[in-house]
């Protein structure tokens, strides 16, 4: 398995597009967070300057976009194999396909998770320092949900990567997988949720949609209806895992 992990790591880091997307996934949340810390932290006496909760909210909120990008990286890591035909030499070199699928998934999820950790650490420490330098009062002890939200942002990134990878396994097509990855959380899930609310008359249904549930991982303030943060993470995680298992099963059965 170590050989396979090494092989998949070489594959992942020898494609320029992965670097480009990875850099954007890191740069986007950091840039927004640091700019916000610099420009919105001014203590002008009206009490509306950036506080600790605000800083963490910006950081974890922008990490959602980064998580989507990481999902794209994960999806493309497998769809490009089918697109360029390299899946055939891959499976010829390792005929036990499930081992390849597990190794590739593990590598891409680990890599994107590492990116999310970097974003949270730099975002918090550098963002906090910038905000401090601008006169804001930043103190993590004042916001008990701060650390869980930042950990949640890392977990959300890992789970979005897993979901993207699963969509890649299922569709074998980069455009289709990426479209679903973008359209599902941003449009389709909301429409379906509203439809179900109309039919069932239960307002908490949107909170139980998979992606919406995952979003609760990064919420800094209190959450109202729906699952708690840990439960929401497990719920979304099981959803992504089930998709990945279905995708792995399909790839194992079908012609390469």
């Amino acid at each position: 398995m170590i050989n396979l992990l090494r092989s998949e790591w070489i594959k992942l880091r020898t494609v320029t597009m992965n670097w480009v997307l990875g850099i954007i996934a890191v740069a986007f949340p950091l840039l927004i967070t640091l700019l916000t810390a610099f420009f919105a932290s001014g203590n002008d006496g009206d009490g509306e300057g950036l506080d600790t909760e605000g800083l963490i909210s910006v950081l974890t909120g922008t990490t959602v976009v980064a998580a989507l990008l990481c999902g794209v990286i994960a999806a493309a890591s497998i769809t490009s194999e089918f697109g360029f035909g390299t899946i055939r030499p891959t499976f010829a070199a390792t005929p036990r396909r499930l081992r390849v699928i597990v190794a590739k998934g593990a590598v891409v999820v680990a890599a994107t998770t590492a990116l999310a950790v970097v974003v949270q650490l730099i975002g918090w420490f550098v963002g906090g320092a910038v905000a401090d330098s601008q006169g804001a009062s930043i103190d993590l002890a004042l916001v008990p949900t701060g650390v869980p939200a930042m950990i949640g942002a890392v977990v959300l990134t890992a789970l979005m990567s897993l979901a993207g990878y699963a969509l890649g396994l299922l569709t074998r097509s980069t455009p289709v997988a990426v479209s679903i990855l973008i359209v599902w959380p941003l449009i389709a899930e909301g429409l379906i949720a509203q439809l179900l609310v109309l039919v069932a008359g239960n307002d908490s249904i949107p909170n139980w949609m998979p992606f919406q549930s995952g979003i609760r991982l990064v919420v800094v303030g209190s959450v109202d209806l729906g699952p708690s943060r840990p439960f929401a993470g497990i719920y979304f995680g099981l959803f992504a895992l089930a998709l990945a298992a279905l995708g792995a099963w399909a790839v194992d059965r079908r012609d390469a």
Partner: protein, 306 residues
């Protein structure tokens, strides 16, 4: 030794491989021939477990491909030189393959050297010609120094020097006792490098034999005779039951009579002969004759010939 037994593969209602069975022995190059759409590539993919066969099995020295621990050390395959990521360098393409089977960096350099790509190993594959990709594919095949080699159309896109090079490489590898199975449409090349043939059509085995036996069995044979008195000779040949085809004013092609008889007839009439030679059709002729009934896609006539 490769043993294919009762292999079958169907795509919807189309039968691509139909209870196919053959053996490939070590020590010689075995040509895998068949018309377009005859199932050669599908067979090779099924042999390697890339396409899931509906029935039958393939054994490599008695083992299923799926049971091989690090297959690149035992079976090297090149099914399509285009199976590369254009954004990677040639060296990185080999690196991920090598890493998956625990093969070290030194072997990568060795194989790059063998196929003559060392100078361009760091360049991205989108800049490689088809011939360069074929060479890279062969480097990938050789990475694990396998005893069995399977190649699908390896000479596609190669220039004459490249074609000769790959022929020499394959003959050399077979000479080392390896099992080499090669599909190709370049029958003149196959005639030069293969000793055994597996010929299929519409997914079924048409024939498995040596190249010599195959040509002997299927190719046309005739006698070429050249004489200044060709008309007198023609009459006696026809009286003897020969089928005579004039080629030019001094040359005849004679079928139905062997070389010795033609010579005796000429001697009896005291006719001067400038040439008397037995002729045999090429592997291409033999192949076309053997697979005539199994041609899925047939060309129209060009210049009076079909």
């Amino acid at each position: 030794m490769i043993t294919v037994t009762d292999l079958s593969k169907r795509f919807g209602s189309k039968v691509a491989v139909d209870h196919l069975g053959f053996e490939v022995r070590p020590g010689v190059v075995t040509g895998f021939l068949g018309p377009n759409g005859s199932g050669k590539s599908t067979t090779m993919r099924c042999m390697l477990g890339l396409d899931r066969a509906d029935g039958g099995q393939t054994l490599f020295d008695g083992q299923h491909y799926q049971s091989l621990h690090q297959p690149l050390h035992q079976v090297g395959s090149l099914l399509d030189a285009g199976y590369v990521h254009p954004g990677r360098s040639g060296r990185n393409h080999l690196r991920w393959l090598a890493a998956s089977n625990g093969i070290g960096k030194r072997r990568i350099d060795e194989t790059l050297e063998m196929v003559g790509l060392t100078a361009v190993a760091g360049e991205r594959l989108r800049g490689y010609s088809l011939g360069m990709r074929q060479r890279l594919g062969l480097a990938a095949v050789l990475l694990g120094d396998p005893h069995t080699i399977i190649l699908d159309e390896p000479a596609n896109g190669l220039d004459p020097e490249g074609i000769r090079w790959i022929r020499d490489v394959l003959v050399h590898l077979a000479g080392q006792g390896r099992t080499v199975l090669v599909s190709s449409h370049q029958l003149s090349e196959m005639a030069l490098m293969a000793q055994d043939l597996v010929v299929i059509g519409q997914g079924r085995l048409i024939e498995q034999s040596t190249v010599t036996d195959f040509v002997e069995r299927h190719a046309d044979r005739w006698v070429r005779v050249k004489s200044p008195a060709v008309e007198s000779l023609r009459q006696s040949l026809e009286q003897r039951g020969g089928e005579v085809e004039p080629v030019d004013e001094h040359t005849l092609h004679v079928r139905g009579i062997d070389c010795a008889t033609v010579g005796e007839l000429a001697a009896n009439q005291q006719l001067v002969l400038h040439e008397l030679s037995p002729q045999t059709g090429s592997l291409e002729d033999a192949f076309l004759k053997a697979t005539a009934a199994a041609q899925e896609y047939r060309s129209g006539e060009v210049g009076g010939r079909s």
